[in-house]
């Protein structure tokens, strides 16, 4: 399964670019195109869209060759695949920051964001995550709120 993805990677990559190019190009034609002399808002986006779609075709066309991985020593050794627990934690952390930032204030938002994200790492325990979250919250209150005056109240009044 993974091997197959490796082999077909460039087909997907090219297809994605074609998709983006066609979509953006379609949207561009809904704006005024104008002329070369007086370009409308749609002109330049259309050029870019055509270019992107064209490059997508090029990527598909050159796919499947025996192109080696040009990354060489830069490869990080990451596995391909989604770590569900980690992903859920990152999403939950960011969403918690947005929701609590809007309704509860910076301190709860910070704590929730760090705590939820930390729980996503399998090596963290509830306790270590809570300690880390408390530490960052304290830092945020002192440095970001008092020091740099970030415009979000520490606790929002009810």
């Amino acid at each position: 399964m993974m091997k197959r993805f490796e082999r077909q990677r460039d087909y997907y990559a090219g297809a994605l670019m074609i998709l983006i190019g066609v979509f953006a190009g379609y949207v561009a034609t809904t704006y005024d195109l104008g002329s070369l002399r007086e370009m409308g808002p749609g002109f330049f986006p259309l050029i870019l869209s055509v270019l992107i779609a064209g490059l997508g075709v090029g990527i598909v066309a050159s796919a499947g060759g025996k192109e080696g991985d040009a990354y060489g020593p830069m490869a990080h050794g990451h596995r391909v695949g989604v770590d569900l627990r980690g992903w859920a934690a990152i999403f939950a952390g960011v969403v918690a920051f947005i929701v609590l930032g809007a309704y509860a204030g910076m301190a709860p938002a910070t704590f929730a964001c760090v705590f939820l994200a930390a729980i996503g790492d399998r090596q963290n325990t509830w306790k270590s995550a809570a300690v880390l979250a408390l530490g960052i919250t304290a830092f945020a209150i002192v440095v970001l709120s008092f020091g740099l005056r970030v415009q979000m109240p520490i606790i929002r009044g009810f």
Binding site: L48, D83, V94
Partner: protein
């Protein structure tokens, strides 16, 4: 010219030595060094997080600090590569090849000492180059009009996307896509909202910070979470006195440092060839001229000295096109350009004349900052080495929070935090498909300015596309563009004949 540069530099030192500027320069290089040392932290995300926090600061202090992060991280990145064999900072990936074997032989300290020598020499050369070349280049660029600026930008974009690592086709596609993202929002010429799909929050465009942190922060976390190899901390006990190279070792490093510096400074003059490429070329050159090339990869001093010197000379030289032409060579400089714009400094050839405080203050701060970095790294190496052992499970939750608050603080918008998450997921998809996100940032920053100049150039020429080739300077830039594309095609055909991997040729 020589003399005026020195007078201006003296003024720059006055600016850079003002206590608060000095403090921010120090904070910048300190954070840079820290980010460089911590495996799994990127320079681009560090700068993006701090960018919104500089809004309240004076422009000079902000620019000094942000620049400090860039070159400071190069000092830290070398430590990470040599002692841990972790190429978490691309310019130092090559250093792993010989740096880590040296560490295994118990000579990690010496490798770091050599690195410091190379860093100081390379940086000094790069700064001198900037001092004397940037004002000249800016002077030439004074006469540029829309058509010339357009062609020059095209050259920068093309070089930035084809010469970077990975497939050139994908690189150009990413640049074009980045330019498209840069157009999101209200069109300045006609006040029509483009690609906002009814979200009024997008009327001012996608926030640069949100894009950078989505691509280089969240996307990276999504890939790395529960997926990083534990750090091997076997070699992280190191003391100050281990760093002193013997006389023979210093002699062995001298010529490679000189050659590496020259390679780095040449690379920085070609737009788009940043420190990463410079370090690769320096390594390959060293291997070619060496009397015993078989030693490379097993702990050759030259294999550490040359790439490190070239990285540092090209990272300082990288500032030249950004500050003198307003055209950044890579994603890092694109961010710096974004910072300039945020602080109401118009980048371009007039910057040096109109904002001498910024330019000469920056040059002076480079001298000061590199000096601080040597003092930070040489006597205090033990502290930094201990930081290498901070585990990822503490780093990434903290970094995620700083991303959220950083994006929020840019324009007090929680909507932007959501945008960052979306960009992050999309960025992960791009990484999975082996697209390099860095050219996207370059396109994003230059896209709107390219469109503006493209429109203006054609308006002046009454819609005649010939204007780009009829104007000699513009034609010259376009000729280089064509040569770049030709070179890529030639390399491809050559590669198809002899199926050698691209990366491995750099080491043969």
């Amino acid at each position: 010219m020589f003399w005026t540069s020195l007078v201006d530099l003296a003024h720059g030192f006055e600016v850079a030595l003002q206590p608060h500027n000095l403090l921010y320069c120090f904070i910048g290089v300190l954070i840079g060094n820290l980010v460089g040392v911590l495996p799994g932290m990127g320079v681009l995300s560090a700068v993006s997080i701090l960018l919104p926090l500089t809004f309240g600061m004076q422009p000079v202090a902000a620019i000094l600090m942000i620049s400090g992060i860039f070159y400071g991280a190069q000092y830290g990145g070398a430590i990470c590569s040599i002692l841990l064999n972790l190429p978490s900072h691309p310019p130092h990936a090559v250093t792993c090849l010989d740096g880590y074997p040296l560490t295994q032989q118990g000579k990690g300290g010496v490798a770091l000492g050599i690195t410091m020598m190379g860093a100081v020499f390379g940086a000094a050369f790069g700064i001198l180059q900037m001092m004397f070349l940037a004002p000249y280049i800016a002077k030439i660029a004074f006469s540029f009009q829309a058509a010339e600026i357009c062609s020059l930008m095209l050259l920068g974009l093309l070089a930035g996307s084809t010469l970077a690592k990975g497939s050139p086709l994908k690189g150009v596609a990413m640049t074009a896509f980045g330019m498209l993202l840069g157009l999101v929002g209200t069109d300045t010429a006609t006040s029509i909202e483009r690609y906002t799909f009814g979200h009024y929050e997008l009327a001012d465009g996608i926030e640069l910070v949100a894009l950078a942190l989505g691509l280089f922060g969240i996307a990276e976390f999504l890939r790395s979470v529960n997926n990083v190899a534990p750090v091997n901390t076997a070699y992280t006990k190191l003391k100050f006195k281990d760093m002193r190279p013997s006389k023979a070792e210093a002699k062995e490093a001298a010529m490679p440092i000189l050659r590496g510096t020259l390679v780095g400074s040449l690379c920085s003059l070609i737009p788009g060839t940043g420190p990463v490429i410079a370090s690769f070329i320096a390594y390959a050159t060293e291997k070619k001229v060496s009397k015993n090339p078989e030693k490379f990869g097993t702990g050759a001093i030259a294999g550490v000295a040359a790439p490190e010197a070239s990285t540092h000379s090209s990272i300082q030289g990288d500032f030249i096109p950004t500050m003198s032409l307003g055209i950044p060579g890579d994603a890092a400089m694109a961010l710096l350009l974004g910072a300039l714009i945020i602080h109401n400094i118009t980048p371009g050839p007039r910057l040096i004349v109109e904002h001498p405080d910024v330019f000469w203050g920056l040059v002076a701060s480079f001298w000061i900052g590199n000096l601080i970095l040597v003092f930070l790294n040489v006597p205090m190496i033990g502290v930094w080495v201990r930081l290498l052992t901070v585990p990822y499970r503490y780093l990434y939750p903290s970094a995620l929070f700083f991303i959220c608050i950083g994006v929020f603080a840019t324009r007090n918008s929680l909507f932007d935090v959501g945008v960052t998450l979306v960009i992050g997921v999309f960025g992960y998809l791009l990484l999975l498909l082996r697209f390099e996100p860095a050219p996207m940032l370059l396109g994003f920053v230059l896209g709107p300015r390219f469109e503006e100049n493209f429109r203006r150039a054609l308006n002046i020429a009454h819609g005649d596309l010939g204007t780009f080739v009829e104007r000699p300077i513009s034609a010259f830039f376009l000729a280089i563009c064509a040569a770049l594309i030709g070179l890529q095609i030639y390399a491809r055909i050559k590669k198809a004949r002899a199926p050698v991997k691209l990366a491995s040729t750099a080491f043969d």
